[in-house]
């Protein structure tokens, strides 16, 4: 019996589908994201210096590429009485390398919490607005549209300026900025899932509407929002840094990439490029990593 009904309509389409190729870009994304996560956990402890304490070497330039092997040798053999400043020090004497690898704890924490908050709120309202369509939820969508049409950065700046510079306020501001995206995404997916047969079947089975929404529609509508998370976290890191840069973010001396760029920016005219360039590179790489991972996940999801 089972061999008889195994030969099915769907199997014919199954074997024409191309073999899934290994996605190297996705691997790059996974690597960067994993690195950032590891640094968020261990970063503050593994640097050669305390990221929040100054050293006596002010505005010390990083070693040139050719000097690195010699410096390494000196350090290991004990000729050097302090660990080398691989990325130099800034105008206050902070070791930039230690601060660059300590910063993910601040940045990723803010970005992650903001994202989780907006994900939960956004998915909730998205489900509400997608499943129960009436004037109330329609109004909700309009409000979220208005919210979304404000420039993200200005809005976060104003919110933090009004509520004060604390991590909590930054998280709330970012969450508010990103919630409409999740509302839209989830609502769109809910609308498409609601028209599917298994929702109808669940109704015919005697489920209540609430039970259909939570047991059937919600779990099948989460994927786009979860994929968007990766991209959002990347951009939330960028936004956190941006807020710090304009002085609306975390307070010094917290190691934070945006703050470091901002501190270093004054020295760039003096030719001291290193206090800004290294944290800047770190941000670029991180945002790139999250975005690439998000795109790869999305492609994989679309392929099914």
């Amino acid at each position: 019996m089972s061999s008889e009904i195994k030969d099915d309509l769907l199997e014919e389409t199954a074997y024409v589908s191309p073999v899934r190729k290994a996605d190297w870009l996705m691997r790059v994304g996974v690597f960067i994201v994993a690195l950032v996560v590891v640094l968020a956990i261990f970063g503050p402890y593994i640097g050669p210096y305390d990221p929040t304490r100054t050293t006596i070497r002010i505005a010390f330039p990083p070693p040139g590429l050719t000097e690195i092997p010699g410096l390494l040798l000196d350090w290991i053999s004990g000729k050097l009485d302090y660990p080398p400043h691989w990325m130099g020090t800034d105008a206050n004497g902070y070791d930039i390398y230690s601060r660059v690898i300590a910063a993910p704890r601040t940045d990723l924490k803010i970005a992650l919490l903001a994202n989780i908050l907006s994900l939960i709120v956004g998915v909730f309202f998205g489900l509400l607005a997608g499943y129960w369509r009436n004037w109330g939820t329609e109004f909700l969508i309009r409000v979220s549209d208005v919210l979304q049409s404000f420039p993200v950065f200005i809005m976060a700046m104003v919110l933090v300026a009004l509520a004060g510079r604390s991590s909590t306020n930054i998280i709330i501001a970012l969450a508010l900025v990103y919630t409409p995206i999740y509302i839209r995404l989830t609502r769109a997916e809910v609308l498409s899932q609601t028209s599917r047969g298994f929702v109808e079947a669940a109704r015919a089975m005697g489920n209540s509407e609430l039970s259909i929404a939570l047991r059937h529609v919600l779990p099948n509508s989460l994927t786009p929002a979860l994929i968007q998370s990766s991209v959002t976290i990347g951009f939330a890191i960028l936004l956190t840094a941006g807020l710090s840069f304009v002085g609306a973010g975390v307070r010094p001396p917290t190691p934070e990439w945006g703050l470091m760029i901002s501190t270093g920016a004054n020295q760039i005219v003096l030719g001291e490029w290193w206090p800004s360039v290294f944290p800047g590179l770190a941000i670029s790489l991180t945002v790139f990593g999250f975005a690439v991972l998000g795109n790869a996940l999305e492609r994989r999801y679309e392929k099914g």
Binding site: M1, S2, E4, I5, K6, D7, D8, L9, L10, E11, E12, Y15, V16, P18, V19, R196, G197, F198, E200, A201, A202, R203, A204, M205, G206, N207, S208, S211, R215, H216, P219, N220
Partner: protein, 607 residues
């Protein structure tokens, strides 16, 4: 049947593709001939390599597949070794192909006439104006009304049947000597299917070309083919004249497929003596408001159906006839505009939300698409548990046992409890759907085209299963289908719908052997029985209906069929027709039939 000069000679054709570490060969050494004026059917299960073979005959393979070897000799030239330019000249000019899903095969951005013109100009050195003339001629030839206007249409403006004909027009525009039709009628209504195949068959006879008709439908094969090739696991396992194939199938696969029809060919399902009117609709009506106007789409119009306890009633009709909406109203997935639905004496249209939910354990529905109707993230165990959780609650272990029993009831192995829908085939999953519908022991089940996405072999076993369950459990079915063969084998009574109305109702035997209403007659005359001794092409054409189904937005004043009926008189256009009991337990919505003004000229056209 073998003649000296076949048009096409295929020898040891192999198509395969590589997966890491392995070579898969879906077409593994196929050999056959096609002779002039011959229509050859290529049958076989899904996955047997039919479509791959059809494409390979034109020297093509869908990536990642490749033609690995063999010969395809057309007019003595091996197509597989010809240079690209020469084989392109042959494709379309000498060999035409018609694929499934006509609408997807037409370019949505181009007018139909231009597409046919392009195909024609690719092989004939003519001006655009001449190509357009040819396009009009071809559309006229394939029976499209008003071809001068239709050449200006885009694909979305055509119905499925018309799009299919436009494709045929394209395939025939250069008068090919060989036609390859790959499931050309899947998804078409029976009347259009019959009309279309008639046209193809006549073309082949008129032009002396040959046709390879790939189809899983034995009805199509029996009525139109001269010879049958059975493809099984990439090889031709049987090559026989059509009558011999049906009378004495050789290969085990052929025997198995045919057994179902042979077992049921004699007699009709036995009448049941259950309580009449167990499920009853009275004047059931459903209108959908049309957005942006005060007009309505009249989907269901005063439908009265009665299903006895333990009886299976078929609801047949073409797409757009409103049969699915009737099923949805019965389940209260749509709230009817007017009329009543009673189950066991209780009017379900008046129940409150909570009472209705409770009522749902007594009435269930199985939908058309098995994959769409289950939550894709759930396991079979979750899926089967859901109705029990909603209606009975209680002990988890006991519920699990019920789920296992339900799987056994539909002939599935309990080991698949932890499988997810994507791991299962369509017919297996449809059995899971049936198990889910039956798990709370309902009295009544709506089956909404449950077999239409299944391959014939799976379809047959599902019909046999449904018939067995009906007998064992004493359930009543409303079986909605456009496939008359399945209705004939499963149902005791049948109701024929046209444009939201029931036009004829009676026992399956009455309606199938002697349909009364002109629409039922047309529908049944288009029905292809898998019986080569009474081939459609050997008999004079039966009355087909002219024109197309009117829009359900502006329904005619009198009889809905008046614009298409061959027996129409002035009264028909003026008088609204009423479903009238004929006394012998059947009812017809046609006053001319009731008044015995129409003689039953094509009675017994079917068994």
């Amino acid at each position: 049947m073998k003649r000296d000069n076949p048009i096409l000679r295929v020898r040891d054709l192999k198509v395969g593709y590589e997966v890491p570490g392995d070579l898969i060969v879906p077409v593994d050494g196929v050999s056959f001939d096609l002779n002039p004026r011959e229509v050859v059917g290529l049958v076989g299960d899904a996955g047997s390599g039919k479509s791959t073979t059809a494409l390979a005959l034109m020297g093509m393979a869908r990536p990642p597949g490749k033609i690995l070897g063999g010969k395809v000799e057309f007019d003595g030239r091996d197509l597989l070794t010809l240079p690209d330019a020469e084989i392109r000249a042959i494709r379309g000019r000498d060999i035409g192909i018609i694929v499934q899903n006509p609408r997807a095969a037409l370019n949505p951005m181009l007018r139909v006439g231009r597409q046919i013109g392009h195909a024609y100009r690719a092989h004939n050195d003519v001006t655009a104006a001449a190509a357009r003339m040819q396009a009009v001629e071809m559309l006229r030839f394939v029976g499209i009304n008003d071809p001068e206007r239709r050449v200006e249409a885009y694909a979305h403006e055509l119905s499925g049947g018309m799009a299919q004909r436009a494709l045929i027009a394209m395939a025939l525009s250069s008068a090919p000597r060989l036609l390859i039709a790959d499931e050309p009628t899947s998804g078409l209504d029976v009347t259009i299917q019959a009309q279309f195949l008639d046209e193809m068959w006549q073309t082949v006879q008129k032009t002396g070309s040959a046709m390879l008709l790939v189809s899983q439908e034995l009805g199509v094969i029996a009525n139109f083919c001269d010879r049958v090739l059975v493809l099984h696991k990439g090889r031709i396992v049987e090559d026989a004249p059509v009558r011999k194939f049906f009378a004495e199938p050789q290969h085990p696969y052929s025997k198995e497929v045919l057994r179902f029809y042979q077992e049921r060919a004699s007699g009709f399902p036995l009448q049941v003596s259950g309580k009449p009117g167990f499920l009853q609709t009275k004047q059931l009506t459903k209108h959908f408001p049309l957005r942006g106007s005060d007009k309505v789409v009249q989907a269901v119009d005063k439908v009265t159906i009665s299903v006895a306890k333990g009886e299976a009633v078929g609801l047949v009709g073409e797409s757009g006839s409103g049969k699915t909406t009737v099923g949805r109203c019965l389940m209260r997935l749509e709230h009817p505009t007017a009329g009543a639905v009673t189950l066991d004496g209780q009017d379900i249209t008046e129940l409150g939300a909570t009472e209705m939910r409770r009522m749902r354990s007594r009435m269930q529905i199985v939908f058309q698409d098995p994959f769409d109707s289950v939550n894709p993230r759930w396991t079979v165990a979750n899926i089967l548990d859901e109705p029990l959780r909603v209606h009975e609650g209680g002990n988890k272990a006991a519920r699990k046992q019920r789920a296992v029993d339900a799987l056994k009831q539909v002939d599935l192995d309990p080991s698949m409890m932890m499988a997810k829908p994507r791991d299962l085939g369509a017919s297996t999953l449809q059995r899971v759907n049936i198990a889910r519908a039956l798990i709370c022991n309902p009295d009544f089940v709506v089956l909404d085209e449950p077999t239409s996405v299944l391959a014939p072999r799976a379809r047959n076993s599902l019909i046999a299963l449904l018939a067995r369950l009906q007998k064992e459990l004493g359930i009543s079915y409303l079986f909605i289908s456009h496939d008359l063969t399945t209705v004939r084998y499963l149902c005791q009574r049948v109701a024929v719908m046209y444009l939201g109305q029931i036009v004829e109702e009676g026992s399956v035997e009455q309606v199938f052997t002697a349909p009364q209403h002109p629409y039922s007659k047309a529908l049944l005359s288009a029905h292809l029985m898998p019986d080569p001794t009474r081939r459609r092409v050997d008999n004079p054409a039966l009355a087909a209906l002219e024109g197309e189904i009117p829009s359900p937005i502006d329904v005619p004043k009198g009889c809905y069929l008046a614009s298409r009926c061959p027996h129409v008189v002035d009264n028909c256009r003026a008088n609204l027709q009423v479903l009238t009991d004929l006394g012998d337990d059947r009812a017809v919505r046609c006053e001319r039939v009731v008044n015995k003004e129409i003689t039953n000229e094509n009675a017994a056209a079917h068994d």
